[in-house]
């Protein structure tokens, strides 16, 4: 199962670098989805490793939370875009000052 866990680690790293470097809020969200998916892969791999379905149930819950998170996050992005005409994370900096 080690290769699966390694792949999951690599995907998680790529997702975290994407969150830190990309400026478009929607792409940042996609990278968060990538990280969640990577953790799901690790959970499913460990479920097979231990012969236990708990990992799969947890991955299922992660998917539910990811769906709810995407709905709210995209609604927030749409609201910001409606008022500021921009989906860039750098433009939403009012709280800074």
């Amino acid at each position: 199962m080690t290769p699966y866990v390694l792949l999951s680690a690599v995907l998680f790293t790529i997702g975290s670098v994407g969150v830190l470097t990309r400026r478009n809020a929607i792409v940042v969200f996609m990278c968060i989805e990538l990280m969640l998916n990577a953790s799901n892969l690790a959970l499913v791999a460990f479920a097979k490793q231990h012969g236990d379905l708990d990992g799969q149930v947890t991955a299922f819950f992660v998917m539910v939370v990811a769906a709810a998170e995407v709905v709210i996050g995209l609604a927030i992005i749409m609201t910001i875009f409606r008022t500021r005409r921009s989906a860039s994370v750098d433009d939403a900096s009012l709280l800074k000052y």
């Binding site: 080690t2 290769p3 390694l6 690599v10 790529i14 478009n24 998916n37 791999a45 799969q56 299922f60």
Partner: protein, 280 residues
């Protein structure tokens, strides 16, 4: 394991592509590749239910939601490359490399032991076994999930809701506005002219002809005009000449004069009947 070695490079490449492509739509499509690969990996890991949920929820719902939002925000919303914090990109990549190296080295040092496999756990079938767990051991988490989903639905509704600041325009007010526009600027109060219907073309990209043989620009959609797919009147006159040649003889003697008249103008002239006379 063959599935894994085929899919893993594709998935890593697609995930890396998300970091480098400029357009958000391309990133969404690359993410779709990663998710399909993950679904296949779930199948090979004895998790058919999760594979189907991955396809249905992630591909069907979440990625579609991403694409919808991209359409609303603007498909060509490219990323800016301006660094707002100095050295942030370099530090992020460095930190990512360190994190990746740490995880990969640490995980490859680790010995996981023999794989137990899911044959016993999946004995009654994957979905019945998952359902047993979900409704016994994890039933509280399952119930809390419903609260989460309701909160998300209400939150999305609240965020997407917009208060109406001005009264909704009624049919009477719209008609009054139209007549006022006509009185002030001479804008034609009636509907726009329909697209033209000719010998070979009854498509919406064919402008109608005015009585003097020129094309009525208002008869085709502005979107088509912006894309540059509107057939101009001279081109159509060429079509008419083609058809007449195919028929062998000109069935309408008068049509030739019209065609000759329109071919002389390169671009269809803007003869807007609306602009001519601001009456009264």
């Amino acid at each position: 394991m063959n599935t894994f070695w085929v899919l893993a490079p594709v998935m890593v490449l697609a995930a890396l592509g998300i970091l480098f492509v400029r357009k958000a739509v391309h990133a969404a499509l690359l993410l779709a590749i990663v998710m399909i690969g993950l679904a296949c990996l779930y199948l090979s890991l004895n998790a058919p239910f999760l594979a189907l949920v991955q396809i249905a929820v992630y591909m069907g719902a979440i990625l579609m939601l991403f694409l919808f939002v991209l359409m609303l925000v603007g498909v060509d919303a490219a990323d800016s490359v301006v660094e707002t914090i100095k050295g942030q990109r370099f530090l992020a990549v460095l930190g990512g490399l360190i994190l990746g190296a740490l995880l990969v080295v640490g995980l490859s040092q680790m010995s996981l032991g023999a794989v137990v496999g899911l044959d016993d756990a999946n004995a009654p079938g994957n979905i019945p076994a998952l359902a047993d767990l979900l409704f016994s051991k994890y039933v509280f988490a399952f119930e809390v999930t419903s609260a989460l989903l309701i909160t998300a639905a209400v939150g999305a509704m609240v965020l997407a809701h917009r208060e109406r600041l001005e009264p909704k325009p009624t049919q009477a007010s719209l008609a009054a506005q139209r007549m006022q526009d006509y009185a002030l600027s001479g804008k034609h109060p009636g509907p726009l002219p329909t697209p033209g219907v000719f010998a070979r073309h009854n498509a919406v990209d064919t402008p109608a002809l005015l009585p003097d043989g020129t094309a009525a620009e208002a008869s085709v959609s502005r979107v088509l005009a912006a894309r540059g797919t509107v057939r101009s009147a001279p081109a159509m006159a060429g079509d008419i000449a083609d058809i007449e040649r195919q028929l062998g003889e000109a069935p309408h003697a008068g049509r030739d004069q019209t065609a000759a008249a329109t071919t002389e103008e390169e671009a269809p002239a803007t003869t807007n009947r609306d602009e001519e006379a601001p009456t009264s």
